[in-house]
Assembly symmetry: C2
Amino acid sequence: MEAVFSALGEPGRLRIVELLRLGPHAVGDIVERLGMRQPQVSKHLKVLAQAGLVKVQPRARHRIYHLDADAFEQMREWVDSFEELWAARLDSLGRYLEELDEEERDQ
Amino acid sequence: MEAVFSALGEPGRLRIVELLRLGPHAVGDIVERLGMRQPQVSKHLKVLAQAGLVKVQPRARHRIYHLDADAFEQMREWVDSFEELWAARLDSLGRYLEELDEEERDQ
DNA sequence: GTCATATATTCCTGTCAAGGAATATATGAT
DNA sequence: ATCATATATTCCTTGACAGGAATATATGAC
């Protein structure tokens, strides 16, 4: 997870990922659509690939990048692991204490 | 989202967040449990707070930090926005093309 | 083969962020 | 008011990383 977050925590890379959400794109496409320079795009894609977020697929002399569903499934599980715990605490002591705290804060 | 990912993309902060998943903790608790130095913990918590991931709640002379559910709900929606699109493409042309690509790759 | 196109890599430089140490602030106890 | 404890902030230094420019590599066209 850490590599994933670190990779997404950079503006350019996040833009690339959100572009790839629309579907696979060649490097040149990304360069053109996002107005970034080709070497930086290649470097960002390398980082994203190392984090497992994207995969490549050579197509003639183009390299088509696409998101890897597994990475997103793992992210989803990670996020869910938090919300599950909160849901479990909602009807127990934790809930009571949290309400107390909120009232206190409002005063 | 960018600030969130950037905040989580640092080992120490990720550890703090995963500790807070177990429930609210005072700064000293975090320091002790994670074996980090107090000033760094405070600084990390500041970054996490600015990203909206944690909230504070003063309790005597302690400051109890806890995760903010809204931030995780937003993350969840972000991740879902990817998986939804893929699901939508599964029974359309995209699916067909992707299968073609996979076969090609295996050869 | 040569050439052109698409992409990756290298090298350099500047910037930013993390850690360490010291210090400041806040709050409760006496 | 003084002191102790808990936490935050500042300053400094160093390392990592992003961008730019140039160059290398791969692949297809001819």
